[in-house]
Symmetry: C2
Subunit: 187 residues, 2 copies
DNA sequence: GTCTATAGGAGGATAGAC
DNA sequence: GTCTATCCTCCTATAGAC
């Protein structure tokens, strides 16, 4: 899987993460992939097409990890903690979430849809685990699982923002631990 | 205050909000402000300098509103609710938070510092109100006010991300209401 | 499949006239 | 203070040869 086409997608994934969509040029992708203009325009119709492939691959790469942590061993609350506390590349930001600030991404359904799908799926799975946790008495019963699931994902995404603004992971950790203390049912 | 210098800053504020830093060109700022090249480079040393002025002005414009809602009338918890539920231009995103995804912004201390200052100030003020709320028994006492304050700001910032990804404000509202239900002390 | 050549436009900035 | 002219580089894409 290290043919030119695949290498181009890999480079696009990296650059999309580092610089976003608008700030990433076909040239930069090509040179990082060690491929020429002709190669790229042979495999893809243009920048947007290649970016779409990169986004879809990133989405596929992120799903299994989240899934396994939320469906893994441990009580519902323990699985929620494991998911929220998993090590993330905080200062680099979310590979998908950061793209959503890009006007050209939000405007192109082919680019936006796979991103939204990841968030939707994550929220749905978190809500499921939250329901289990409520049944087990680990999470207060008077909270709406769907709302709280959105809250949890928002804390992660917002934690990235605070960390990048502050230049350190501290704020991210504080936000995560803060929400964890709140979801946990009072003794 | 509608001289060329001020108009350039206003245009820069708008474009920074709409397109971010990298995707905003001096040309675009000038044409929106109705000013020429010469005018801009007379008042500012370049794009970064003008952007810095725009960011500082936006920061100044955001502070009073937040301050008044958190120091206004009502119980501590009511003030927290008022702050979190205030109407925001959700789909447009945060004027400052969105810039933090931009590599060129994070790299330039003159651009990043005023952004971080707003977040730091907001977190500090929220922590203060949270402490009051705990004393009043409105918020569970076993939570760290500084952590929860970071959580609240993160939920807002992350709510923007979810909303833009989904193309609707629903997810934002869900995240906000979710965290509000969690901070409120159990009956 | 991949390379090179080429193209029109935009980006960011400087210089000097008015 | 503001205008116009000018500069070099990068952007994204197309064309056609190998």
């Amino acid at each position: 899987m290290d043919d030119a086409r695949s290498r181009l997608i890999t480079s696009a994934q990296e650059l999309l993460w580092e610089r976003g969509y608008t700030a990433t040029s076909p040239r930069a992708i090509q040179s990082r992939a060690g491929a020429g203009q002709g190669s790229m325009y042979h495999h893809f119709t243009g920048k947007a097409d290649l970016a779409g492939a990169a986004i879809r691959r990133t989405a596929e790469e992120m799903t299994p990890g989240a899934r396994s942590r939320l469906e893994g061993p441990g009580s519902p609350l323990e699985r929620l903690r494991a998911y929220l506390r998993v090590e993330r590349d905080v200062l680099r930001g979310c590979r998908l979430g950061r793209l959503v600030q890009d006007q050209d991404v939000v405007t192109d359904p082919h680019l936006l849809e796979p991103i939204d799908a990841v968030f939707s799926g994550t929220i749905a799975r978190l809500a499921e685990v939250l329901r289990e946790a409520q049944e087990a008495g680990e999470v207060r019963a008077d909270a709406d699982p769907d709302q709280v699931a959105a809250t949890l994902v928002a804390v992660i995404q917002g934690g990235y923002v605070l960390a990048r603004a502050h230049g350190s992971t501290e704020r991210y950790t504080a936000a995560i631990e803060g929400v964890l203390s709140l979801v946990t049912a009072s003794p």
